[in-house]
Subunit: 112 residues, 2 copies
DNA sequence: ATGATTAGTCAGCAG
DNA sequence: CTGCTGACTAATCAT
């Protein structure tokens, strides 16, 4: 019989494989089918490992994104806090103005 | 010869193993040493798999922590923003007060 | 020699 | 049956 390469064996559909195996020995067919299964498994295993790695990459990236978001939020927070501080200063100045005015009015009404 | 169990074989140091193997056939010794190596490898592989899993767990946990931190920062931000809003209201009221006062003063100085 | 990691193999489960 | 995954083995790398 003609030798069939791993790649060919993997590439063939079961149907085509059966066509190719028409008049063969049953034992021989079994052996070939087993070889096909094994080759497929080899691919599945490689696939499985690759998937494992890419999922780790995904996790790493997600983590990195979250860290960026944290930094962004921290910056935003700091900015807002600064804003609050400035407002407090303005607020204090206005309060001083207000109490000065009230005092003046009081004095005026006292003399009137 | 007496059979030695996997656990025993794994547990023995090379030294003790050699003692035990004093008068043995060289081929037999080689086979036993290979069995020992294989058993050790089995353990290493299991260890490797476990490590892989625990590292994934670590990543997952870190991710979860980061998400918690994000939520915390978001809450903090919202709170501060609210504070800013309230301050803006007070600020606006004070500003109204201030301009009213200034107006009054202006009027008074005009009539005087 | 020892331990860790990778690729291939098989068993066994899921669809 | 096809595809995936856990565990085992052997080969290989590093210490």
């Amino acid at each position: 019989m003609e030798e069939i390469s791993d790649d060919e064996l993997i590439g063939l559909s079961v149907k085509d494989l059966n066509k190719l195996l028409k008049g063969k020995d049953k034992a021989e067919v079994q052996i070939l089918k087993q070889r096909r299964r094994t080759l497929k498994n080899r691919g599945y295993a490689a696939n499985c490992r690759e998937k494992r790695l890419s999922q780790k990459d995904i996790l790493d990236n997600e983590k990195e994104q979250l860290e960026k978001e944290i930094h962004s939020l921290q910056a935003e927070n700091a900015k807002t806090q600064l804003e609050v501080g400035q407002m407090n200063q303005t607020y204090a100045a206005l309060l001083r103005f207000k109490s000065r005015q009230l005092q003046t009015q009081t004095v005026k009404s006292e003399v009137s």
